[in-house]
Amino acid sequence: MSDRIKTARYPKLEHFAEPNVITTTADFIFSWARSHSVFPFTYGLACCAIEMLTSGFARYDIARYGMEVFRPTPRQCDLMIVAGTVNEKMAPVLKRLYDQMSEPKWVISMGACATSGGPFYDGYNVVNGVDKVVPVDVYIPGCPPRPEALFQGLLELQGKIQQYKFVPGKPAAPEAAELVAPAAATEEV
Protein backbone atom coordinates (compact mmCIF):
# COMPACT_ATOMS: atom_id res chain seq x y z
CA MET A 1 0.00 0.00 0.00
CA SER A 2 1.44 3.32 -1.00
CA ASP A 3 2.29 6.08 1.44
CA ARG A 4 -0.24 8.26 -0.29
CA ILE A 5 -3.09 5.98 0.72
CA LYS A 6 -1.82 5.72 4.28
CA THR A 7 -1.57 9.43 4.77
CA ALA A 8 -4.86 10.00 3.06
CA ARG A 9 -6.71 7.46 5.14
CA TYR A 10 -5.24 8.41 8.49
CA PRO A 11 -4.89 12.19 8.41
CA LYS A 12 -4.31 14.45 11.32
CA LEU A 13 -6.87 14.56 14.06
CA GLU A 14 -5.31 17.52 15.79
CA HIS A 15 -6.03 17.06 19.41
CA PHE A 16 -8.72 16.14 21.85
CA ALA A 17 -9.71 19.27 23.72
CA GLU A 18 -12.29 17.50 25.79
CA PRO A 19 -13.86 14.05 25.75
CA ASN A 20 -15.79 13.54 22.47
CA VAL A 21 -14.47 16.73 20.94
CA ILE A 22 -12.15 16.43 17.93
CA THR A 23 -10.44 19.32 16.26
CA THR A 24 -9.61 18.93 12.60
CA THR A 25 -9.88 20.75 9.30
CA ALA A 26 -12.99 21.28 7.28
CA ASP A 27 -11.17 19.78 4.28
CA PHE A 28 -10.53 16.60 6.19
CA ILE A 29 -14.01 16.13 7.54
CA PHE A 30 -15.69 16.78 4.18
CA SER A 31 -13.33 14.62 2.16
CA TRP A 32 -13.44 11.89 4.79
CA ALA A 33 -17.21 11.79 4.57
CA ARG A 34 -17.24 11.99 0.81
CA SER A 35 -14.63 9.32 0.22
CA HIS A 36 -16.38 6.85 2.54
CA SER A 37 -19.84 7.18 1.06
CA VAL A 38 -19.18 6.52 -2.61
CA PHE A 39 -22.18 5.16 -4.49
CA PRO A 40 -20.92 2.98 -7.35
CA PHE A 41 -22.88 2.77 -10.58
CA THR A 42 -23.37 -0.82 -11.72
CA TYR A 43 -21.68 -0.82 -15.11
CA GLY A 44 -20.82 -4.47 -15.70
CA LEU A 45 -20.17 -5.14 -19.38
CA ALA A 46 -18.37 -8.51 -19.35
CA CYS A 47 -16.71 -11.01 -17.03
CA CYS A 48 -15.18 -8.22 -14.90
CA ALA A 49 -18.74 -7.68 -13.72
CA ILE A 50 -18.65 -11.09 -12.05
CA GLU A 51 -15.65 -10.02 -10.01
CA MET A 52 -17.32 -6.70 -9.24
CA LEU A 53 -20.44 -8.49 -7.99
CA THR A 54 -18.33 -10.94 -6.02
CA SER A 55 -16.78 -7.92 -4.32
CA GLY A 56 -20.22 -7.08 -3.01
CA PHE A 57 -20.93 -10.44 -1.42
CA ALA A 58 -20.00 -11.66 2.05
CA ARG A 59 -16.62 -13.19 1.26
CA TYR A 60 -15.04 -9.90 0.13
CA ASP A 61 -17.66 -7.44 1.33
CA ILE A 62 -17.23 -4.09 -0.35
CA ALA A 63 -19.28 -2.58 2.49
CA ARG A 64 -16.09 -2.42 4.54
CA TYR A 65 -15.16 0.64 2.48
CA GLY A 66 -18.55 2.32 2.71
CA MET A 67 -19.26 1.62 -0.94
CA GLU A 68 -21.81 -1.15 -0.87
CA VAL A 69 -24.71 0.84 -2.22
CA PHE A 70 -24.58 -0.10 -5.89
CA ARG A 71 -27.24 1.78 -7.81
CA PRO A 72 -28.56 0.89 -11.26
CA THR A 73 -29.31 4.53 -12.08
CA PRO A 74 -26.71 7.21 -12.78
CA ARG A 75 -28.70 9.87 -10.93
CA GLN A 76 -27.91 8.37 -7.52
CA CYS A 77 -24.25 7.52 -8.21
CA ASP A 78 -20.92 9.27 -8.12
CA LEU A 79 -18.59 6.45 -9.18
CA MET A 80 -18.85 4.60 -12.47
CA ILE A 81 -17.00 1.27 -12.35
CA VAL A 82 -16.64 0.34 -16.03
CA ALA A 83 -16.20 -3.43 -15.76
CA GLY A 84 -15.78 -4.96 -19.19
CA THR A 85 -15.35 -4.39 -22.90
CA VAL A 86 -16.76 -1.13 -24.21
CA ASN A 87 -17.87 -1.45 -27.83
CA GLU A 88 -18.78 1.21 -30.32
CA LYS A 89 -22.48 0.61 -29.83
CA MET A 90 -22.19 0.96 -26.05
CA ALA A 91 -19.88 4.00 -26.06
CA PRO A 92 -22.56 6.68 -26.73
CA VAL A 93 -24.80 5.09 -24.09
CA LEU A 94 -21.95 5.09 -21.58
CA LYS A 95 -21.17 8.74 -22.32
CA ARG A 96 -24.82 9.67 -21.87
CA LEU A 97 -25.09 7.86 -18.54
CA TYR A 98 -21.86 9.48 -17.37
CA ASP A 99 -23.28 12.86 -18.26
CA GLN A 100 -26.38 12.08 -16.20
CA MET A 101 -24.35 11.45 -13.04
CA SER A 102 -24.22 14.43 -10.73
CA GLU A 103 -20.94 16.10 -9.77
CA PRO A 104 -18.58 15.30 -8.23
CA LYS A 105 -18.13 12.03 -10.09
CA TRP A 106 -15.35 9.56 -10.73
CA VAL A 107 -14.66 6.71 -13.12
CA ILE A 108 -12.78 3.48 -12.46
CA SER A 109 -11.62 1.53 -15.49
CA MET A 110 -11.72 -2.06 -14.28
CA GLY A 111 -9.69 -4.64 -16.19
CA ALA A 112 -7.76 -4.83 -19.43
CA CYS A 113 -10.76 -4.34 -21.74
CA ALA A 114 -12.01 -1.12 -20.20
CA THR A 115 -8.46 0.19 -19.93
CA SER A 116 -7.21 -0.51 -23.45
CA GLY A 117 -9.51 -2.95 -25.25
CA GLY A 118 -7.54 -5.83 -23.73
CA PRO A 119 -7.59 -9.03 -25.75
CA PHE A 120 -10.09 -7.41 -28.13
CA TYR A 121 -7.80 -4.47 -28.92
CA ASP A 122 -8.40 -3.18 -32.46
CA GLY A 123 -11.51 -5.33 -32.92
CA TYR A 124 -14.04 -4.27 -35.51
CA ASN A 125 -16.46 -2.97 -32.88
CA VAL A 126 -14.25 -2.39 -29.83
CA VAL A 127 -13.36 0.94 -28.23
CA ASN A 128 -9.68 0.77 -27.28
CA GLY A 129 -10.21 1.93 -23.72
CA VAL A 130 -13.07 3.72 -22.01
CA ASP A 131 -10.82 6.79 -21.60
CA LYS A 132 -11.61 7.53 -25.25
CA VAL A 133 -15.15 8.28 -24.09
CA VAL A 134 -15.03 9.52 -20.47
CA PRO A 135 -12.15 10.67 -18.22
CA VAL A 136 -10.82 7.88 -16.01
CA ASP A 137 -9.55 8.40 -12.45
CA VAL A 138 -8.15 4.96 -11.63
CA TYR A 139 -7.11 2.13 -13.93
CA ILE A 140 -7.15 -1.42 -12.51
CA PRO A 141 -5.09 -3.98 -14.44
CA GLY A 142 -6.11 -7.63 -14.65
CA CYS A 143 -8.15 -9.94 -16.80
CA PRO A 144 -10.30 -9.89 -14.82
CA PRO A 145 -8.92 -8.22 -11.68
CA ARG A 146 -9.63 -10.07 -8.47
CA PRO A 147 -11.83 -8.33 -5.87
CA GLU A 148 -8.69 -7.42 -3.93
CA ALA A 149 -7.43 -5.51 -6.97
CA LEU A 150 -10.74 -3.69 -7.22
CA PHE A 151 -10.45 -2.78 -3.56
CA GLN A 152 -6.96 -1.40 -4.07
CA GLY A 153 -8.36 0.69 -6.89
CA LEU A 154 -11.11 1.92 -4.61
CA LEU A 155 -8.55 2.82 -1.94
CA GLU A 156 -6.53 4.73 -4.55
CA LEU A 157 -9.70 6.58 -5.45
CA GLN A 158 -10.41 7.33 -1.80
CA GLY A 159 -6.90 8.72 -1.51
CA LYS A 160 -7.60 10.91 -4.53
CA ILE A 161 -10.95 12.11 -3.19
CA GLN A 162 -9.37 13.00 0.15
CA GLN A 163 -6.96 15.37 -1.56
CA TYR A 164 -9.78 17.55 -2.87
CA LYS A 165 -9.75 21.00 -1.32
CA PHE A 166 -13.11 22.27 -0.17
CA VAL A 167 -11.97 25.54 1.34
CA PRO A 168 -11.19 28.01 -1.45
CA GLY A 169 -7.95 29.95 -1.57
CA LYS A 170 -5.67 27.16 -0.47
CA PRO A 171 -3.05 25.97 -2.95
CA ALA A 172 -3.50 22.42 -4.13
CA ALA A 173 -1.16 19.84 -2.68
CA PRO A 174 1.63 18.74 -5.06
CA GLU A 175 0.25 15.18 -5.06
CA ALA A 176 -3.11 16.42 -6.23
CA ALA A 177 -1.67 17.77 -9.47
CA GLU A 178 0.02 14.52 -10.27
CA LEU A 179 -3.19 12.59 -9.65
CA VAL A 180 -5.32 14.54 -12.11
CA ALA A 181 -6.55 12.44 -15.05
CA PRO A 182 -4.41 12.65 -18.22
CA ALA A 183 -4.98 15.84 -20.20
CA ALA A 184 -5.77 14.00 -23.42
CA ALA A 185 -8.61 12.11 -21.80
CA THR A 186 -10.02 15.20 -20.10
CA GLU A 187 -10.22 17.21 -23.31
CA GLU A 188 -12.54 14.79 -25.02
CA VAL A 189 -15.27 15.14 -22.42
Binding site: E88, K89, Y124, N125, V127, K132
Partner: protein, 164 residues
Protein backbone atom coordinates in the same frame (compact mmCIF):
# COMPACT_ATOMS: atom_id res chain seq x y z
CA UNK B 1 -44.62 -45.97 -29.05
CA UNK B 2 -44.66 -43.48 -26.25
CA UNK B 3 -42.28 -40.56 -26.36
CA UNK B 4 -39.40 -40.75 -23.90
CA UNK B 5 -37.52 -37.50 -23.70
CA UNK B 6 -33.79 -37.99 -24.06
CA UNK B 7 -34.05 -41.32 -25.80
CA UNK B 8 -33.98 -42.24 -29.45
CA UNK B 9 -36.44 -44.98 -30.33
CA UNK B 10 -34.82 -45.31 -33.76
CA UNK B 11 -31.20 -45.81 -34.66
CA UNK B 12 -29.40 -42.89 -36.26
CA UNK B 13 -29.11 -44.77 -39.53
CA UNK B 14 -32.84 -45.43 -39.47
CA UNK B 15 -33.59 -41.74 -38.94
CA UNK B 16 -31.21 -40.78 -41.73
CA UNK B 17 -32.75 -43.35 -44.06
CA UNK B 18 -36.24 -42.15 -43.19
CA UNK B 19 -35.32 -38.55 -43.94
CA UNK B 20 -33.48 -39.41 -47.14
CA UNK B 21 -36.47 -41.35 -48.40
CA UNK B 22 -39.25 -39.04 -47.25
CA UNK B 23 -37.53 -35.81 -48.38
CA UNK B 24 -35.79 -37.26 -51.41
CA UNK B 25 -36.74 -34.22 -53.49
CA UNK B 26 -35.21 -31.68 -51.11
CA UNK B 27 -32.47 -33.24 -49.02
CA UNK B 28 -29.26 -34.34 -50.68
CA UNK B 29 -26.08 -35.80 -49.31
CA UNK B 30 -27.78 -37.07 -46.13
CA UNK B 31 -25.29 -38.59 -43.70
CA UNK B 32 -24.81 -39.21 -40.00
CA UNK B 33 -22.00 -37.00 -38.79
CA UNK B 34 -22.12 -37.08 -35.00
CA UNK B 35 -23.67 -39.59 -32.60
CA UNK B 36 -26.78 -37.42 -32.58
CA UNK B 37 -26.53 -35.23 -35.69
CA UNK B 38 -27.59 -35.78 -39.29
CA UNK B 39 -26.14 -33.48 -41.92
CA UNK B 40 -27.82 -32.74 -45.24
CA UNK B 41 -27.68 -30.18 -48.05
CA UNK B 42 -30.65 -28.18 -49.29
CA UNK B 43 -31.07 -26.03 -52.38
CA UNK B 44 -31.90 -22.45 -51.33
CA UNK B 45 -35.16 -22.29 -53.30
CA UNK B 46 -36.45 -25.43 -51.59
CA UNK B 47 -35.58 -24.44 -48.03
CA UNK B 48 -38.83 -22.75 -46.93
CA UNK B 49 -41.05 -25.60 -48.10
CA UNK B 50 -38.71 -28.20 -46.67
CA UNK B 51 -38.60 -26.45 -43.30
CA UNK B 52 -42.38 -26.52 -42.95
CA UNK B 53 -42.57 -30.19 -43.92
CA UNK B 54 -39.67 -31.11 -41.68
CA UNK B 55 -41.31 -29.48 -38.69
CA UNK B 56 -44.69 -31.09 -39.38
CA UNK B 57 -43.33 -34.58 -39.98
CA UNK B 58 -45.18 -37.09 -37.80
CA UNK B 59 -42.25 -39.42 -37.16
CA UNK B 60 -39.26 -37.10 -37.04
CA UNK B 61 -40.67 -33.61 -36.50
CA UNK B 62 -37.83 -31.10 -36.18
CA UNK B 63 -39.68 -28.56 -34.05
CA UNK B 64 -36.92 -26.69 -32.25
CA UNK B 65 -34.53 -24.40 -34.08
CA UNK B 66 -31.30 -24.15 -32.08
CA UNK B 67 -29.34 -21.69 -34.17
CA UNK B 68 -28.59 -20.38 -37.63
CA UNK B 69 -25.04 -19.65 -38.71
CA UNK B 70 -23.73 -17.74 -41.68
CA UNK B 71 -20.43 -19.06 -43.03
CA UNK B 72 -18.06 -17.40 -45.47
CA UNK B 73 -16.59 -20.12 -47.72
CA UNK B 74 -14.61 -17.50 -49.70
CA UNK B 75 -15.98 -18.60 -53.08
CA UNK B 76 -19.53 -18.80 -51.74
CA UNK B 77 -21.60 -18.34 -48.62
CA UNK B 78 -23.28 -21.01 -46.60
CA UNK B 79 -26.15 -20.86 -44.12
CA UNK B 80 -26.38 -23.65 -41.56
CA UNK B 81 -29.60 -24.41 -39.70
CA UNK B 82 -29.32 -26.55 -36.59
CA UNK B 83 -32.68 -28.05 -35.64
CA UNK B 84 -33.69 -30.48 -32.91
CA UNK B 85 -36.31 -33.22 -32.97
CA UNK B 86 -37.92 -34.12 -29.66
CA UNK B 87 -39.50 -37.18 -31.25
CA UNK B 88 -36.22 -38.84 -32.18
CA UNK B 89 -33.82 -36.97 -29.88
CA UNK B 90 -31.66 -36.07 -32.89
CA UNK B 91 -30.37 -32.92 -34.52
CA UNK B 92 -30.34 -32.10 -38.20
CA UNK B 93 -27.93 -29.67 -39.79
CA UNK B 94 -29.25 -28.14 -42.98
CA UNK B 95 -26.48 -26.65 -45.13
CA UNK B 96 -27.58 -24.18 -47.79
CA UNK B 97 -25.04 -22.94 -50.34
CA UNK B 98 -25.48 -19.40 -51.63
CA UNK B 99 -23.62 -17.67 -54.46
CA UNK B 100 -21.16 -15.04 -53.27
CA UNK B 101 -22.53 -12.33 -55.54
CA UNK B 102 -26.11 -12.75 -54.33
CA UNK B 103 -26.40 -14.43 -50.90
CA UNK B 104 -30.18 -14.57 -50.60
CA UNK B 105 -32.40 -17.22 -49.10
CA UNK B 106 -36.04 -17.32 -47.98
CA UNK B 107 -36.72 -16.69 -44.32
CA UNK B 108 -37.86 -19.51 -42.06
CA UNK B 109 -39.35 -17.22 -39.41
CA UNK B 110 -42.81 -18.43 -40.44
CA UNK B 111 -41.85 -22.00 -39.55
CA UNK B 112 -39.59 -21.47 -36.55
CA UNK B 113 -40.22 -18.06 -34.92
CA UNK B 114 -36.87 -18.38 -33.14
CA UNK B 115 -35.22 -17.80 -36.51
CA UNK B 116 -36.02 -14.08 -36.28
CA UNK B 117 -32.99 -12.91 -34.28
CA UNK B 118 -30.68 -15.60 -35.69
CA UNK B 119 -31.35 -14.43 -39.22
CA UNK B 120 -30.78 -10.84 -38.14
CA UNK B 121 -27.42 -11.88 -36.70
CA UNK B 122 -26.44 -13.71 -39.90
CA UNK B 123 -27.37 -10.57 -41.83
CA UNK B 124 -25.48 -8.35 -39.40
CA UNK B 125 -22.27 -10.36 -39.31
CA UNK B 126 -22.05 -12.09 -42.70
CA UNK B 127 -24.51 -10.18 -44.84
CA UNK B 128 -26.91 -12.97 -45.74
CA UNK B 129 -30.20 -11.54 -47.03
CA UNK B 130 -33.28 -13.39 -45.77
CA UNK B 131 -36.11 -12.48 -48.10
CA UNK B 132 -39.49 -12.22 -46.39
CA UNK B 133 -38.00 -11.56 -42.95
CA UNK B 134 -40.38 -9.27 -41.01
CA UNK B 135 -37.67 -6.96 -39.64
CA UNK B 136 -34.26 -7.56 -41.17
CA UNK B 137 -31.94 -5.03 -39.53
CA UNK B 138 -28.74 -5.18 -37.54
CA UNK B 139 -28.97 -6.78 -34.11
CA UNK B 140 -25.49 -6.70 -32.54
CA UNK B 141 -23.70 -3.84 -34.27
CA UNK B 142 -24.83 -0.25 -34.37
CA UNK B 143 -27.29 0.70 -37.08
CA UNK B 144 -24.84 2.79 -39.11
CA UNK B 145 -22.09 0.17 -39.17
CA UNK B 146 -20.57 -0.21 -42.63
CA UNK B 147 -19.95 -3.72 -43.94
CA UNK B 148 -20.28 -7.18 -42.45
CA UNK B 149 -17.30 -7.90 -40.18
CA UNK B 150 -17.26 -11.71 -40.27
CA UNK B 151 -16.79 -11.77 -44.03
CA UNK B 152 -13.29 -12.84 -44.96
CA UNK B 153 -12.83 -9.78 -47.17
CA UNK B 154 -13.97 -7.30 -44.52
CA UNK B 155 -11.57 -4.41 -44.06
CA UNK B 156 -11.77 -2.40 -40.85
CA UNK B 157 -13.03 1.07 -41.66
CA UNK B 158 -12.32 4.31 -39.84
CA UNK B 159 -16.00 5.29 -39.88
CA UNK B 160 -16.80 2.22 -37.80
CA UNK B 161 -14.57 3.60 -35.04
CA UNK B 162 -15.91 7.03 -34.04
CA UNK B 163 -14.29 6.62 -30.61
CA UNK B 164 -10.85 5.52 -31.80
Amino acid sequence: MGLVVGSNPMSMDAVAALLAERFAGELTDVRVQEPDTIVARVAPQKLAVLAARLKADADAGYETLNWIAGVDRRTSFEVVYHVYSWKTNTYIELHVDLPRARPEVDTVTGVWPAADWHEREAWDMVGIVFTGHPDLRRILLKDDFVGHPLRKDYVDLAENHPHA
